[in-house]
C-alpha cells in the first residue's frame, strides 16, 4: 500500500502531454491495423434504412439530403452520407442534395463522387445536386418546397433549370420528396422538424455527430424524427445495412434483398469482405473509437483511484 500511494500521487501530477501521446497512439494504431469487431444496428438507424428502402424503384418518391456541416465533422458525417448515397444508387431511389453553408458545397460533391464511382448513375436522372443556396433563403426554400420544388429551387449546382430535368418527373413537392435527412453537427435539423414536418408532414431524419445525438432523443420518441444516425456508430451501422441487404449478392445473380431483423442478427461481415476502404471507413473508425473510449475509461478509473488514495492519506495525516 505504501508503495502504491506515491505511484498514484505521481500519476495525479502526470504531464498532460503523456495523456495526449497515449490517446494519439490509441487512435492511430487501430486505424493503421484494423481489426474485426461486430457492428450492432440500433433501431433509429434501421428505421432510416427501411424508409429509404421502401422508395426503391419508385419514380414518385425521392429523398433530400441536406448537408449542414463543414469539413471539421467530415470524419463522422461523410461515411454516413456515402453509405446512404450508395443505398440510393443501388436500390434506384431518386436523391437530391442541398446545402445552405458555402463550406458544405464541396462536401456534397465529395460524397457524391465517392458514392457514384461503382454505379451507372447520371446527374439529373438518378440524382440531382441542388447545390449551395444562401442561408438567407433557408426558410423560403424549406417552406417553398412544400408547394413546388422546381419553382423555389429554380436551378441545380450546374445552373440547369430544375423543371427541365428528367429526375423531376413525378416529383413536385414534399408529397413525393417525402424524406429529408439532415447531416449536421448542430441543431439544424430542428428547422426541418418545426417547419417542413409540422406544416407539410414530410418525414425527417438526422445524421448527426455523436456529441449532438443526446439532444435529439425527445424528437425520436415523439416520432418527429423517423430515425437517426448517431455519429460514427450510426455510420458504421448504416454501412453494415447496405452490405447485408442493398448490395447482397443472391444465388440467382440478382443483387439486393429486403430488410429482415433475423438476417441482420445473424450477419457477420468482416472488414476483409468489403473491397473498398471508403465503404468501410466508419467501421474502421469504430475500432479507433473503441480503443479511445476504453483509454478514457481507464484514465477516469486511474484518476479516481489516485484521488481516493490521496484523500485517505490526508485523512490519516490529519488524525
Amino acid at each position: 500500500m505504501s508503495n502504491i500511494v506515491p505511484f498514484f500521487e505521481k500519476m495525479q501530477a502526470l504531464d498532460r502531454r503523456y495523456i495526449y501521446l497515449v490517446v494519439a497512439l490509441a487512435i492511430i494504431i487501430p486505424l493503421l491495423i484494423p481489426f474485426n469487431s461486430k457492428t450492432y444496428v440500433t433501431e433509429p438507424t434501421a428505421n432510416v434504412y427501411k424508409m429509404i428502402d421502401s422508395y426503391a424503384g419508385r419514380s414518385d418518391r425521392a429523398i433530400l439530403l441536406s448537408f449542414s456541416h463543414d469539413a471539421s465533422t467530415m470524419a463522422e458525417l461523410t461515411p454516413m452520407e456515402v453509405a446512404i448515397l450508395r443505398h440510393c444508387f443501388q436500390r434506384k431511389v431518386k436523391v437530391f442534395t442541398l446545402c445552405f453553408m458555402p463550406a458544405a458545397s464541396p462536401l456534397m460533391d465529395y460524397a457524391l463522387n465517392i458514392a457514384k464511382e461503382d454505379y451507372d448513375v447520371q446527374d439529373g436522372i438518378d440524382y440531382c445536386n441542388f447545390g449551395y443556396k444562401p442561408y438567407g433563403l433557408f426558410l423560403p426554400i424549406l417552406l417553398g418546397m412544400g408547394d413546388d420544388i422546381a419553382e423555389i429551387v429554380e436551378t441545380d449546382a450546374q445552373g440547369r433549370k430544375i423543371s427541365n430535368l428528367p429526375i423531376m418527373t413525378d416529383i413536385t413537392n414534399y408529397n413525393e420528396m417525402n424524406l429529408v435527412v439532415d447531416f449536421a453537427a448542430s441543431s439544424a435539423v430542428y428547422s426541418w422538424i418545426v417547419y417542413a414536418r409540422a406544416r407539410y408532414g414530410v418525414n425527417v431524419a438526422a445524421g448527426i455527430t455523436a456529441v449532438m445525438a443526446a439532444d435529439n432523443y425527445p424528437y425520436l420518441q415523439t416520432g418527429q424524427l423517423v430515425g437517426m444516425l448517431s455519429g460514427l456508430k450510426g455510420a458504421a451501422e448504416y454501412e453494415k445495412l447496405v452490405d447485408v441487404f442493398a448490395t447482397h449478392k443472391n444465388p440467382d445473380g440478382t443483387i439486393g434483398r429486403s430488410y429482415s431483423k433475423e438476417i441482420l442478427q445473424e450477419s457477420w461481415i468482416k472488414l476483409s469482405d468489403v473491397d473498398k476502404r471508403v465503404y468501410k471507413t466508419a467501421r474502421i473508425g469504430m475500432n479507433a473509437q473503441t480503443v479511445a473510449h476504453v483509454m478514457i475509461i481507464v484514465f477516469i478509473i486511474l484518476g479516481n483511484i489516485g484521488f481516493f488514495l490521496s484523500k485517505k492519506k490526508k485523512e490519516q495525516e490529519m488524525m
Binding site: 471539421s72 467530415m74 470524419a75 423560403p140 443526446a214 473510449h293 477516469i300
Partner: protein
C-alpha cells in the same frame, strides 16, 4: 428616427408574417411571394457585406502593423486566392479549388475537431472525480454510455448497451425535454416582446 423606423419595420413585418402563417388568404400568399423574391435579391448583398467587413477588419490590422498582422495578411490572401480559383477554374472535381478544399480545408477542419478527443481524455483524467454522490452518478453514467456506444460494450454484456439506451431515452430525454420547453417558452415570450416593441436591445445602443 434612427430607432423608430427600424422598430416600425420590425413590428409591421412581424405581424404580417404572423398573419401569413395563420391566414391562408390570397393577399397573404402574394405578400409571401413578394418577400421571397426580395430575399433572393438581398442574399448576395450579405456576401458582399461579409467580404467588406473581413477586408476592413484585417486591412486595418495590416496597415497598423497590429500584433500578429501576418495572420491577417494570410487570411486576405486565402480569401482572394480561393475565391479567384473558384471563379476562374470552377469548383468541380480536379480543379484547384477542390484541391485546396481537400488538402487545406479538410485536414485543418478535421484537426480542429479532433483536438476534442485529446481534451476530453485529459479532462477525464484530471477532473472527472467521484467527489460527491451526484458526481459519482454522472461518472458511472458516462462510463456506461461510453461503453454502450462501442461494440466492446455489447461484447462484455447485453446489459451495457441496454442500460446506455435507457440512460439516453429516460433521464437524458426528460432533462432535454425540460430544457426544450423552457427555451420554447422563452422564445415565445421574447418574440412577443419584440413584436410589441417592448424588447429593443436588437436595435443597438444610443441614438
Amino acid at each position: 428616427m434612427k430607432r423608430q423606423i427600424p422598430l416600425i419595420i420590425v413590428i409591421t413585418l412581424g405581424f404580417m408574417f404572423v398573419a401569413h402563417t395563420f391566414i391562408p388568404h390570397k393577399a397573404s400568399v402574394a405578400f409571401y411571394d413578394w418577400w421571397v423574391s426580395w430575399s433572393k435579391a438581398i442574399s448576395p448583398f450579405a456576401v458582399i457585406l461579409g467580404i467588406m467587413s473581413l477586408t476592413m477588419v484585417h486591412g486595418t490590422k495590416i496597415s497598423r502593423k497590429a500584433p500578429n498582422w501576418q495572420y491577417s495578411a494570410l487570411t486576405l490572401f486565402a480569401l482572394v486566392f480561393t475565391g479567384a480559383s473558384g471563379f476562374i477554374w470552377g469548383t468541380s472535381e480536379g480543379t484547384p479549388f477542390m484541391w485546396l478544399f481537400k488538402n487545406v480545408q479538410m485536414p485543418m477542419g478535421s484537426t480542429m475537431f479532433s483536438l476534442l478527443a485529446f481534451h476530453i481524455a485529459s479532462a477525464a483524467y484530471k477532473a472527472f472525480r467521484a467527489r460527491s454522490a451526484e458526481a459519482t452518478v454522472l461518472l458511472i453514467a458516462a462510463i456506461i454510455v461510453m461503453l454502450g456506444q462501442v461494440p466492446l460494450g455489447m461484447a462484455i454484456s447485453k446489459w451495457i448497451p441496454e442500460t446506455s439506451s435507457w440512460i439516453l431515452n429516460v433521464p437524458n430525454l426528460a432533462a432535454k425535454r425540460g430544457i426544450a420547453l423552457g427555451v420554447g417558452l422563452g422564445m415565445t415570450a421574447t418574440s412577443l416582446k419584440i413584436l410589441l416593441g417592448i424588447e429593443r436591445t436588437y436595435l443597438g445602443g444610443g441614438d
